[in-house]
Each structure stands twice: as structure tokens, then as C-alpha cells.
């Protein structure tokens, strides 16, 4: 149980919706979420297709624990081929939408084809409708979500939607649900836009059963208590993820001015203390913390912008509260572009949510544009008259809005840093792997992070591995391949349960095993769960190989490989990828070109035999 064993398959080209039984063999091999979504994608389409063509599929996947009383049970995944990377995209979100989709009675929603005109999908238990969305097309996420709820007269409906950026193919457009939670990375929103699908609205009354409620509650009481007692959990509750910004600054791992520096003196103006301290107008940025569905951590921040600030002084529509700064948003709208204006950062964060864009990719792309500007490669004639200097807070908010609306230079920024820098003949200035921009950790100070970035199947990402403890205690690349590999497998498993990675502040594999076992009513050993993770990792790799990626894509930009870190604990170091990568491939059971060996695939049940596509019911 906890799987409904039901897949909703919607073909927008033929405008048909049908329910199929979940392939339980696959569920037992891949759990749900990221893993099961990837299996369905791999079996359902050719990885070589254009990510923005109608042959690409868009899969919304819940996990077996989504919608249960396990802490953080609101997680769901969007799995598709990413237009930013041309690789597998598996983007994870929280909020309440995913649980609602599960409550409606579905494990997975698979969207195929392309609608001939803008539509949205309305799912109310067994009633599934493809509805006209022309009145929402061309509008923001915030407008769409509220307008759909109002039109349907049901404030409890949960909505996942895209903004104009997704409609017009911004390569890092997100799918935003519940106003400020997002399947943020790799451009999954652009895939949704390419299908003419503006939104998915869900309302569910089927619920989620567990195998043995009393046994389940006993386990959950224990796992809740572990979180309650955890110091790491308490930091997340009290300070949010932005507590990391001071750590990274003092460590020398905080990418600044497009990774030209690794410390940022303005940190104190945008850190958690700054968020909760009144400014000269007696305005305090932070209002409260907020949880996703089922979450007993509550790392989300709700903030508001000082009404006296120039960016919104004359724009009353932004005087309300909304999602506030988290670490990656703060990094990508702050240090990496040299900006330390907390109100401008918060406003730009609002714009990311309102228009549906990944702040990491946007910010790091803007950082590349700023370096191009300061080098004189582009001038204000290219940038609509805006001086794109590092530290220009006004440039940040102007460009965030232009990109969200696909206007002027915003169209160029919407290509992402790789395409932007190639366009202007300076590809080395793109701080990305496989076309996807880095998160807020410098690979020279955190060597294991660098290996994780280079080998991440969805392009640069800080959430595909966890080598943090090892990186903080040892600045070399020695011994980083093994924790990188094993944590990648573990994270892939966690991402497939329906629970959140941040629970690892208190939980290890055993706690996930206990919860999966008791909820599903069958024993899952730790070894079996970690093998699921390894299987997922290898399947993602196979997807990428079939999509045409090679070893050349498992690398880092020359700035990190050749230019020593200018400061911090790793001063003088470069990323030691050349020694870590062969070790990593060997530990993975891959050959020197990064291709999984036959015995590795056989061991994981990924051998050459063709798996039949699930029979349609």
C-alpha cells in the first residue's frame, strides 16, 4: 500500500486521459518520485528527442510516502528531458500540490504530446478534464493560481503552473506550486510550456492508506522525535537554509562575482540575522517560517519587502508577504552578482516565483552577463541601457522582470549562461555543468562538491550528493569519490520516497527503511534501498548516454580547474577533478569513458534485455 497503483496518462495531442495500473515491478525497483518517474520516462520516449518537442514527456511523480504522516511527506518530482541541459531532468518540489495529487488517487501523472491551444488539467479524484486556459495564458504564476481557485470556487484546490517564462521557453523556467514552492531546476517549466499546458490543478478526497496504521504511527512518532531533537533540524527551523551563507563566506566557498572570488563582505547584510533585524525604517524582512505539507522542520521563510525601497515604492502589488530568502536564492541573487541589498534580493526572489524561474540559473546567468559587460564584450546598447555592473541591485530587479516577461535583454538571459556565453564568444565564462548553473558552493573549496557537480546527471546541482562533512574537514580531493558515489545513491533513494533531503539532519538510511517498510507493509532492507538508489543513478546515466552526452560533459569550467581560489581555506587550490573522476568511475563500475560496464548493469537489473513498455489497461 501507499502506492495507489494508478497512473494517470494524459495525451494533449489527442486530448485523452486514461488510468493505467502502476507497474509494480518497476515500483519495487524504483520506489516512486524521481526513480520511478525516470523509469517511466526511459521506457516511454527516446532520450534523443528535442526536449521542447512534443515527443518529450512530462511526468509528475509522487512517492510511496507522499501524503502520509511521515515528516516532510509533501515531496513530489517532475521528471522529463531538460531543455537547459538536454539531459535527464528530475526536479523536486514541496508545498501541498504533490500530496493533493496523491490524495486524488494517482502515483504518477504522465503528460504526452502537445495541445493545439493553451489548456490546463483539472484533476478531482476520478474526474479529469483538459480545460481551456486561454484566459490564463500570458499571465503570471501568481495570477494563474489564484484565478483558477477563484473560478472553480474552491480555495483548497492545489495548483502547479508556469509563468510567461515557461510559455516562451526560458531554458530554466520552473513549475511553481502553492505560490512559492518550485520544481525549480533544468527548465521543466519550459517543457510544460512547450506542451501548451499552463497549469495542473488537483483536489483529492481519496486519501492515502498505510498498511498498518498503529505500527506506522509508532515508527513515525520515533522519526518525528529524532527530528525534534536534532540540532541541525533546529537550525533549519530557526534560520532557514540561509544560515549557510555565513559558513560559506568564512570558509571561502561562497561564489562571488561570477566565481571570480570566494568570499563576499556583504554577507552580513543578507544573512539570517539581517533578515530578522529591523532596518532604519523599523521594517523587518522576515515574518515567520512556513512548512511544506507534512513537514515538522519548516525551513521555508515568509518575508516582506520594505515599502520604502525604490524597487516597490510605487508598486503596491508587491507590498504583501510571500516566500523569502533561502540560501540558494540569497547566493544567486546576491554574492554571485555582488549585490547585498536585502530588499532587492527579496523582490527578485518574488519575481522568480511570480514568473516561474529558477533563481540559481537566472542569477548565475546574470553573473555571466555582468562579467561580459565589465569586460566590454557587451555594452549598454545590448542591455537595454542598463549598466550590468557587479553590485548593481537595480540591474538585478530590472533584469529579473525582463527575463520573466521575456522582454529585451531578458530574452538573452533566458537562454541560460552556456548559450549566452557561447553567443558572445566567451563560453568559458559560463559557470555551469552540462549547461546547468552551479549552486552556491565553490568547487575549489569543496572538492567533493565539485566532483558531485561534474557527475550530476541533471547538470550542476548541490542536491545530488552530500559530501559536505568530508569537504569541510579536508580541502583536498583525496577520498572524496567514495562518499560522493554512495551519497548520490542515497539521495536518489530519498528523492524517490516522497520525503525531503533535509530530514538527513536527523535520519539515515535506516529511518527511511523503517518508514518505507511500515507504510508499504513489506520489508525493505537498507541494502535494498541503497541499491534502488544506485539503480536510479545508473538509469539516469543511461538516459544521458542515449541522449548523446559523453565523458566530456562530466567536467567543470576552466575557471575552477585552472584558476586557483583567491582566498579562504582553499586559497591556491584548483578543483582536483582529474584525479577524482577516474576514481569515481571505477567505484561506480563504469569504464574510463564513464559508461557503465555490462556486469554493473547486470548486477542492477539494467542489462541489455529490452524491458517491455507497461501494458495499457
Amino acid at each position: 500500500m501507499t502506492w495507489h497503483k494508478r497512473v494517470l496518462r494524459v495525451n494533449l495531442s489527442t486530448r485523452t486521459c486514461k488510468v493505467e495500473p502502476l507497474n509494480m515491478e518497476w515500483a519495487n525497483d524504483y520506489l516512486g518520485g524521481r526513480g520511478l518517474g525516470t523509469k517511466y520516462l526511459m521506457e516511454g520516449m527516446d532520450p534523443a528527442v528535442d526536449a521542447l518537442s512534443e515527443e518529450n514527456q512530462l511526468i509528475f511523480a509522487t512517492g510511496p510516502l507522499t501524503g502520509t504522516m511521515c515528516s516532510t511527506s509533501g515531496r513530489w518530482a517532475v521528471v522529463t528531458k531538460g531543455p537547459l541541459t538536454n539531459a535527464i531532468a528530475a526536479s523536486n518540489s514541496g508545498g501541498k500540490f504533490g500530496a493533493e495529487l496523491k490524495f486524488a488517487g494517482y502515483d504518477l501523472l504522465i503528460v504526452e504530446g502537445r495541445a493545439s491551444s493553451p489548456v490546463y488539467l483539472l484533476i478531482q479524484d476520478d474526474k479529469v478534464e483538459i480545460k481551456d486556459a486561454s484566459e490564463y495564458w500570458g499571465t503570471t504564476v501568481w495570477h494563474t493560481e489564484e484565478a483558477i481557485k477563484e473560478k472553480l470556487g474552491d480555495p483548497q484546490i492545489k495548483v502547479a503552473s508556469i509563468g510567461v517564462s515557461g510559455e516562451q521557453g526560458v531554458r530554466y523556467a520552473c513549475i511553481v506550486n502553492d505560490l512559492h514552492r518550485a520544481a525549480g531546476r533544468s527548465g521543466v517549466g519550459a517543457v510544460m510550456g512547450s506542451k501548451n499546458l499552463k497549469a495542473v490543478a488537483a483536489r483529492g478526497t481519496v486519501g492515502v492508506p498505510v498498511a498498518d496504521a498503529q505500527a506506522f504511527l509508532k515508527v513515525v512518532k520515533h522519526t518525528h522525535q529524532l527530528l525534534e531533537d536534532s540540532a541541525g533540524r533546529k537550525d533549519l527551523t530557526d534560520y532557514g537554509t540561509n544560515a549557510m551563507i555565513d559558513t560559506m563566506h568564512s570558509f571561502g566557498g561562497l561564489p562571488t562575482n561570477n566565481f571570480q572570488d570566494v568570499t563576499f563582505p556583504g554577507t552580513e547584510k543578507i544573512n539570517p540575522e539581517a533578515m530578522s533585524t529591523p532596518n532604519e525604517n523599523d521594517h523587518t524582512n522576515l515574518i515567520t517560517n512556513k512548512a511544506c505539507f507534512g513537514c515538522t522542520i519548516g525551513c521555508g521563510r515568509i518575508a516582506h519587502i520594505d515599502q520604502n525601497h525604490a524597487c516597490i515604492k510605487d508598486r503596491q502589488q508587491y507590498w504583501h508577504a510571500s516566500g523569502g530568502l533561502e540560501y540558494e536564492t540569497a547566493f544567486a541573487l546576491g554574492p554571485v552578482i555582488g549585490v547585498d541589498d536585502i530588499d532587492a534580493l527579496t523582490f527578485a526572489g518574488y519575481l522568480m516565483n511570480e514568473h516561474g524561474m529558477d533563481p540559481i540559473s537566472f542569477g548565475v546567468t546574470l553573473a555571466a552577463a555582468m562579467e561580459l559587460f565589465e569586460l566590454g564584450v557587451i555594452t549598454s546598447a545590448d542591455t537595454d541601457g542598463v549598466a550590468l555592473n557587479f553590485g548593481n541591485a537595480e540591474a538585478l530587479t530590472i533584469m529579473a522582470e525582463k527575463t520573466g516577461k521575456c522582454e529585451g535583454f531578458g530574452k538573452m538571459l533566458g537562454m541560460g549562461s552556456k548559450r549566452l556565453c557561447e553567443h558572445y564568444g566567451r563560453p568559458e565564462l559560463s559557470m555551469a555543468v552540462k549547461g546547468q548553473e552551479f549552486a552556491g558552493y565553490d568547487s575549489r573549496a569543496l572538492q567533493g562538491m565539485g566532483l558531485g557537480y561534474a557527475t550530476s546527471n541533471r547538470g550542476a546541482c548541490h542536491l545530488r550528493h552530500d559530501v559536505f562533512a568530508e569537504d569541510m574537514s579536508d580541502q583536498t580531493g583525496n577520498g572524496k569519490a567514495w562518499p560522493c558515489k554512495t551519497s548520490q545513491d542515497k539521495v536518489a533513494m530519498i528523492d524517490s520516497t516522497g520525503l525531503c533531503l533535509f530530514t538527513t539532519a536527523a535520519w539515515d538510511t535506516d529511518e527511511f527503511q523503517q518508514q518505507v517498510s511500515v507504510a508499504c507493509g513489506s520489508h525493505w532492507s537498507n541494502e535494498r534501498l541503497l541499491e534502488v538508489g544506485e539503480r536510479i543513478w545508473n538509469l539516469e546515466k543511461l538516459f544521458n548516454l542515449r541522449a548523446g552526452l559523453t565523458k566530456a560533459d562530466d567536467t567543470l569550467p576552466p575557471r575552477l580547474l585552472e584558476t586557483p581560489a583567491p582566498a579562504g581555506v582553499a586559497k591556491g587550490r584548483v578543483a582536483e577533478l582529474s584525479t577524482m573522476l577516474p576514481e569515481y568511475y571505477a567505484l561506480r563500475g563504469w569504464d574510463q569513458e564513464g559508461v557503465p560496464k555490462e556486469d554493473t548493469l547486470d548486477r542492477l537489473g539494467l542489462g541489455n534485455k529490452t524491458t517491455p513498455v507497461a501494458a495499457n489497461a
Binding site: 501524503g67 502520509t68 504522516m69 515528516s71 501541498k96 500530496a99 490524495f103 483548497q156 505560490l179 512559492h180 483536489r203 483529492g204 478526497t205 481519496v206 486519501g207 492515502v208 492508506p209 498505510v210 496504521a213 504511527l217 518525528h224 525534534e228 515574518i287 515567520t288 517560517n289 512556513k290 512548512a291 511544506c292 505539507f293 507534512g294 513537514c295 515538522t296 519548516g298 521555508g300 515568509i302 516582506h304 504583501h320 508577504a321 510571500s322 516566500g323
Partner: protein, 138 residues
């Protein structure tokens, strides 16, 4: 005698909905917030999250209007309790209640409301932030 009640502190609520899951598990046997007797309402992009359920009010309009006498007082707890064997699902109580805290349940075809889980309210147990506690109101 001073009765214990659910004490709801909206300032502490993070809108995690553990309460709604605990409630639906207790009363419906599965996780289905749609059928929870306690609801969390969110305002202004999550600036305020407010848990809300039956206050077990003394007037008990639901009880007064019920044509089948399906609602009675549990004198020990002060709760107004629906007898599902007597309820015919006419929904008159849902119109009489000024608080909107007795609702028609599409699963059972009867009305449902908070009964404090017989004196051991599961929502208060489940709340991670003490936004919901069970005690004597000051």
C-alpha cells in the same frame, strides 16, 4: 468543573497539516485531509496560517436543530457528538452552525465534527510546534 479544550495558537502554526492527517487517520482510517475535522486556513501567501475546529460551544446550534436527535453532549468532555446511527445526512446542522465546523462527509453520507477524539485529541499530539494544545483555557 473546568473542561479541557483545544487551544489554538495561530502564531505558532506553520501549516504543515500534521493535525489534518492525524485527524483523518483517527476518524477515517487513512490520510485524507479533505475529511479532517480540524482545518488550517492560510492567508496572504502563508503570512498567517490558522488552525480552526469546533469550539464545542455551549449553544450547540447543531444539536438544537438536528431533527433526529443525532447530536448529544458528552458531559464528561463537554463535546457535542454525532451518533452516525441516527444521523440521516440532512445537513441542517451544517447550516445552523455559525462557525462552519460541522460538515457533511461524502464518504459516509453523514455529518462529522470534532469530538476531541474522546479526550485524547490526535491533532494536538501531532502538532510539532504546539500551535495546537489540549488543556484548560486561561
Amino acid at each position: 468543573m473546568t473542561l479541557k479544550t483545544l487551544i489554538l495558537d495561530a502564531d505558532r502554526c506553520t501549516s504543515c497539516l500534521q493535525c489534518e492527517m492525524a485527524c483523518s487517520l483517527e476518524h477515517e482510517g487513512l490520510f485524507a485531509p479533505a475529511f479532517s475535522r480540524i482545518k488550517v486556513f492560510e492567508f496572504e501567501h502563508g503570512k498567517r496560517s490558522i488552525p480552526y475546529t469546533c469550539t464545542q460551544c455551549e449553544e450547540a446550534w447543531c444539536m438544537q436543530v438536528c431533527p433526529t436527535n443525532a447530536i448529544s453532549v458528552n458531559s464528561e468532555l463537554g463535546t457535542k457528538v454525532v451518533d452516525e446511527n441516527l444521523c440521516v445526512g440532512c445537513k441542517v446542522c451544517t447550516m445552523a452552525c455559525p462557525y462552519g465546523t460541522i460538515n457533511f462527509n461524502t464518504r459516509s453520507g453523514k455529518v462529522t465534527k470534532c469530538d476531541l477524539c474522546g479526550g485524547d485529541p490526535k491533532c494536538a499530539d501531532a502538532c510539532p510546534t504546539d500551535a495546537i494544545t489540549y488543556g484548560v483555557a486561561s
